[in-house]
Symmetry: C2
Subunit: 215 residues, 2 copies
DNA sequence: CCACAACCTGACCATCCGGTCAACATAATT
DNA sequence: AATTATGTTGACCGGATGGTCAGGTTGTGG
């Protein structure tokens, strides 16, 4: 028991390490392939090649393609939820919403594949994570709407419908990931530079913050 | 010649009518299936069933799945381009941008499948319409950016980066089509009513117009 | 009415894909 | 060292899919 506890804490086991590493490699490859080809267009063989493993090995760690896909989507969902921390402990809309925009823009830049997988999943009717939408996301949304409504009631911002404001924030920030290819093409075929990302973030922030009457 | 011209104008021919009608039915079905299943997930059999035609008939009108898909994407692109008419003949940002938001929100409601197909295509790297992005869309974007910049120079609106403002407009309006399922789920599983669409449009308009300093 | 062209479609095929499995290799345990 | 548990992989399979085609039907022009 003592030994088991120690093992699970320090993760000394070679076996555990192998499993952890392989699952990570597979999930990374899967995220990219699912994002670039869609669920239907993605093949286990493609994912295997990108992960540098034989296809049969994928099925050892993830029984089915859908199970692998489900795990990818869940991982993304977790990242998204944690992005709202700045939203919560903010004294007002300037810090709260401004910080949320910055956090989500940063995620769009760092996890473009994940954002695309999420978008794809939702666009196809959320066949895999419908229950998440109906429980976790719904609760999350209700909570943030309450925060925004409180700010409105306290006169800290213009009386904007909280629900549609949230949708606007999601739409604009995720657009830079989901439509990254289009943006890149319109940028002369080159990815946005650090300065351009900063510019995008500032533009979104300024328009929104002015739009809700806090500038 | 005279007869041909008349035929092509009035479309009397039964043959012509059959072809026109079948192509329309197939394209409508294809748009829906491509939107709901993605390119890879869509099957010619599914499209055929939805169109009420045998699969082989699809290949009579469209030689390959990709050719059919290409036509669907092109049709959508045309609709999008024509949506900017209100943008052009406007005296200032209030009418121009406000009208553009209304037009695009209306399109999102009326053509949700088309919007999703477009989003999917771009997310997967625009394998089919990359040339459109680099020519037509780029020119279109440059033109509208010039209009916005002129308004800024004339002091008709706050100095907002025209490019990112356009991206914001696209993102928000298309979000209501592309993420319609998520929005519907967060709306208690029911589609938005007329009033709710109006509310969404008004919220987007008010936040943006205030955000660019014209209210 | 005839002949030609356009349209229609059931049956078929080569290919690909997700998933399985048996045999083997390596690490952990006793 | 021996045994067991875990990880690895090439080969294989059933089913689905995009696409073909021959033979039929329907419209059209002469």
């Amino acid at each position: 028991m003592t030994q088991n506890a120690q093992v699970s804490r320090i993760q000394r086991g070679r076996r555990t390490e192998i499993r952890r590493e392989n699952e990570r490699v597979i999930l990374d490859a899967a995220e990219k392939v699912f994002a670039e080809a869609g669920y239907g267009g993605a093949t286990m063989q493609l994912i295997a090649d990108m992960a540098g493993l034989p296809k049969a090995n994928l099925h050892y760690y993830f029984p089915t393609k859908e199970a692998l896909y489900r795990q990818v989507v869940r991982n993304i969902f977790e990242i998204w939820l944690h992005a709202a921390d700045t939203f919560d402990h903010a004294p007002g809309p300037v810090e709260g919403i401004g910080g949320y925009i910055e956090a989500k823009m940063a995620i769009s830049r760092r996890h473009p594949f994940g954002s695309k997988v999420w978008a794809s999943e939702v666009m196809h009717g959320a066949p895999v994570i419908q229950d998440y939408l109906e429980t976790t996301l719904r609760d999350w949304t209700a909570g943030r709407m309450a925060v925004i409504q409180r700010w409105v009631d306290q006169g800290k911002m213009a009386p904007v419908d909280p629900r549609h404001l949230l949708y606007m924030l999601w739409a604009m920030t995720q657009h830079y990931a989901d439509f990254g290819h289009q943006i890149e093409t319109l940028n002369g075929g080159k990815p946005l530079t650090d300065a351009q990302w900063q510019e995008a973030t500032e533009t979104v922030k300024s328009v929104i913050l002015r739009g809700i009457g806090v500038i």
